[in-house]
């Protein structure tokens, strides 16, 4: 297993390098620049600005300098939009917020999704199944930008229990985490139901029942491990998405997370911030996919580290 992980980590290096290089040049070819503004500045001011950020140097020089700073010093450079902050500082400020939002939403998603999914599978084609499945279907169909404002309307504006936006106290965590968690809970419920139904009809489950195992033991000891496989494959990319923050949720609730910077930095042509967030997200997605692969082998004896 260690060899498998080591090999995968080694493969990561060229992947990240390609992503960094492609992003570096792609963002430069997008029309407009960090200092493109409604009101033009005089040519000498523009020259001074470009000099201050080394944008007056040839592109390849800027690229090699950036690469050197990232690889040797872990320095992602100064931000253009936030002149007195570095990209490292912005990520250090905002990533923990996105991680917290993601982790709490994931917890809601797992608890609600697995419960609904298992219930629906065990009581398949009964009214319990219909209720669970319909709830999941509604969750999938209801986009976060509808659910979020609806929750705000009810709990913040009508009842006055929470703030409509902001990330100040513990109460401010509830509505955004619930909104983000609900959507993923719905997917997890559908996948769990499907996975469990398939497993519950397998021979080894029948054997377990024949040997006198109780319903709970069959579900939790025998069926769940196999029934969760589709959920685990889904969780890899889902966790990456959920942990790196959700642009929509962060915008609806004005959460100071990294998801908004990821999107807005492209609109602002904040070259260094675009690169910093892209590299970070790429690394996170690669790492989480690796974790998912390891967990899948652990859950499914038919798979091997090859």
């Amino acid at each position: 297993m260690l060899r498998f992980i080591a090999r995968r980590l080694l493969e990561t290096i060229p992947v990240l390098f390609i992503i960094l290089t492609a992003t570096f040049f792609m963002i430069r070819f997008v029309p407009g620049g960090p200092f493109t503004a409604e009101k033009a500045v005089t040519p000498e001011v523009m020259r001074n600005l470009e000099r201050a950020y080394d944008l007056d140097k040839p592109l390849w020089q800027q690229y090699t300098r950036y690469l050197r700073n990232v690889v040797l010093h872990g320095d992602l450079g100064p931000s253009f939009k936030y002149p007195n902050r570095t990209v490292n500082e912005i990520i250090a400020d905002k990533l923990p917020v996105s991680l917290e939002l993601g982790a709490e939403a994931l917890l809601i998603a797992l608890v609600a999704g697995l419960t609904l999914g298992v219930l629906a599978a065990v009581k398949s084609n009964t009214w319990i199944d219909y209720i669970c499945s319909s709830t999941a279907m509604i969750g999938i169909c209801l986009p976060t930008f509808v659910l979020g404002p609806l929750l705000v309307l009810l709990f913040a504006i009508r009842l006055g229990w929470a703030n409509a936006s902001g990330w100040y106290g513990p109460v401010d965590r509830v509505l955004p985490c619930l909104t983000l968690g609900c959507v993923y809970a719905a997917y997890i419920a559908r996948l769990t139901r499907g996975g469990m139904l398939e497993v519950l009809h397998q021979d080894y489950i029948r054997t377990a029942r024949a040997k006198g195992a109780g319903q709970l033991r069959v579900i939790f000891k025998h069926a769940l491990r196999g029934g969760l496989l589709p959920v685990v494959s889904f969780l890899g990319p889902a966790i990456a998405g959920i942990l790196t923050g959700s642009f929509v949720i962060e915008t609806i609730f004005q959460i100071p997370g990294l998801g908004r910077e990821f999107v807005n930095s492209a609109f602002n042509r904040d070259y260094t911030l675009v690169l910093g967030t892209v590299i970070l997200y790429a690394a996170l997605i690669i790492a989480l996919n690796l974790v998912v692969d390891v967990v899948q082998v652990w859950l499914n004896p038919k798979l091997k580290f090859e």
Partner: protein, 540 residues
């Protein structure tokens, strides 16, 4: 471990929500703010920097106006310049030399006195090329300033700013500037405290993190207490401010909320006293249901269409004029936008210190058809379909579609609408890759020159390719004229020439639409949307 911590955190939150009810929250932020004189306001996008020499965005400059004070400041009602750090000043007969006498009580927030030397050192900083200040150009009215920023002069002594003694500052201008005192209220002219900047990093380079809580030393009515990125910027009343006795607010919380819908929800939930703006689609419901919360203030902001006069067909003045005459401006302002906008028949908006444009580009469909036929395109025959480029702001499309339909119906001219992202449109504009462009312009100070200057052939904001030596010469004469009436006459002639040539179609004068709690007092409708915070207070 992290999982356990998150779980505990989550359970904690759920328990709090279930036990807390409205009665446990001691009122909303607005209610508490009213009692404690704490103003909560939305400021749109997250701000980048609070360094007055680096910041360019309107919201940044607004917060900076609470933290710093210049020689003069603005009257809260009509924004005319009133004494601030300078208690009085003298102007020479030729209007080239201003002598400012600084008040003895002016102090920095660390207790240091504000001196004339602070102003010259600050102006030296903003003009220094290595800082790359986007607003350095505003100081070019100072003698020698432009050469200094261009690197042609190395010695700052050649720039027209001298500290005669600690409390006397002499300013020499390059040419007479009748609106110089108004210009001085722009944050580019604010003093900064160089010793505290030097303690945080290089004074003349970008990226110095001095403008942060605990480090920023200002001389304004408020001091910076907290800056939580994307959450809030908190400023509190400064005890060292010379006029602290008249400052009624104890604190201001600036909330950067980039989504207008989220901001409006926060306002309804009692988190904000006033919003940065109001989503276009919600104006009607507020007008109907809660008119006492809705404000539609006039604003120095003209919306117009630019013609690229280098393009075939649009290089023909009669074609441009016909298109300009065939826009039904009252319909756009009163039937489509319906938010206090006024139809624009000239480029300069009303309220410009006594200046009223004489010429007009009226709406006259018959005349438009006649002019187009004169140009050789009766009924639009022979003209290709034009492209009208606009950015994806919410009401731009509505107006663009209306204009498209008016030209089709009245002139038989076909228009294709092209929609791009904000910065992409600006890049196309700069490169001249457009035919007709949806544009707007916001004035920097209440003087016609802030609008008419952009059409000069050497202006970096013209972008149409239209150049008229006669127009340039009229504006140059106006800039050298000290008599207000004679100057306005020159501006009127210039604007008449501009509208006759029609490199643009004025559409409407915009208004600033936002929500305001009735408890906010002293928030006067001003043309630049400036509201000196020392004159604002809250009443329950």
């Amino acid at each position: 471990m992290a999982g356990v911590r998150y779980f505990v955190h989550f359970v904690h939150s759920v328990l709090l929500l279930s036990t807390l009810t409205g009665c446990l929250r001691h009122g909303t932020d607005v209610e508490r703010g009213n009692r404690e004189q704490v103003l909560h306001r939305g400021i749109g996008d997250e701000i980048g920097d609070l360094d007055p020499h680096v910041a360019t965005n309107i919201s940044e400059l607004d917060i900076i106006s609470a933290l710093f004070e210049g020689l003069v400041t603005e009257d809260p009602v009509d924004l005319h310049p009133v004494p601030a750090v300078a208690e009085r000043w003298e102007v020479s007969a030729d209007q080239l030399t201003y002598t400012f006498y600084l008040r003895a009580g002016a102090r920095w927030s660390n207790g240091d006195p504000v001196t004339a030397g602070d102003f010259t050192a600050s102006w030296r900083r903003i003009l220094t090329p290595s800082l790359g200040s986007g607003n350095a150009g505003l100081l070019y009215v100072l003698q020698g300033a432009e050469a200094y920023t261009k690197g042609l002069a190395r010695d700052f002594a050649q720039v027209g700013a001298k500290a005669l003694d600690a409390r006397t500052l002499q300013v020499t201008l390059d040419h007479p500037v009748p609106y110089f005192l108004s210009l001085l209220t722009h944050p580019a002219w604010l003093p900064v405290h160089l010793p505290s900047i030097a303690a945080s990093g290089p004074v003349y380079e970008r990226g110095n993190p001095w403008a942060r809580p605990g480090r920023l030393v200002g001389n304004g009515a408020f001091i910076l207490r907290a800056w939580e990125p994307n959450q809030r910027i908190v400023v509190e009343k400064s005890p060292t401010y010379w006029d602290a006795a008249h400052v009624r607010l104890n604190a201001i919380h600036f909330h950067p909320i980039d989504s207008l819908d989220a901001e409006e929800r926060a306002f309804r939930a009692g988190q904000l006293h006033l919003t940065y703006a109001l989503p276009f689609g919600k104006v009607e419901s507020y007008r109907r249901d809660s008119p006492q919360l809705l404000r539609m203030d006039p604003y120095l902001n003209t919306y117009f269409l630019r013609f690229n006069v280098a393009r075939p067909f649009l290089n023909e003045p009669r074609v441009r004029r016909a298109l300009a005459l065939a826009v039904d401006r009252p319909a756009i302002a009163e039937k489509i936008l319906r938010g206090g906008q006024l139809p624009a028949y000239a480029f300069t908006p009303p309220g410009m210190a006594g200046y009223v444009p004489e010429a007009r580009l009226p709406t006259d469909f018959n005349e438009a058809r006649r002019v187009l036929a004169d140009a050789g395109y009766p009924g639009g025959r022979g003209l290709p379909a034009f492209e009208l480029l606009f950015n994806n702001s919410e009401n731009h499309r509505l107006v663009a579609e209306a204009v498209q339909e008016m030209w089709r119906r009245e002139l038989g001219v076909q228009v294709r609408l092209v929609n791009q992202e904000f910065k992409a449109v600006l890049a196309e504009r700069r490169a001249g890759h457009y035919q007709i462009l949806f544009s707007d312009w916001v004035g920097d100070y209440p003087d016609p020159s802030t609008f008419l200057d952009i059409w000069r052939s050497d202006s970096g904001n013209n972008h149409t390719g239209w150049a008229s030596p006669a127009y340039d010469s009229l504006l140059r004469s106006a800039s050298l004229t000290t008599d207000a009436a004679a100057r306005n006459l020159l501006f009127q002639k210039a604007e008449a020439l501009l509208l006759e040539a029609a490199p643009l179609v004025p559409l409407y004068y915009n208004s600033h639409i936002f929500l305001l709690q009735p408890s906010v007092k002293g928030w006067h409708p001003t043309l630049l949307d400036h509201h000196p915070y020392k004159h604002v207070w809250l009443e329950e």
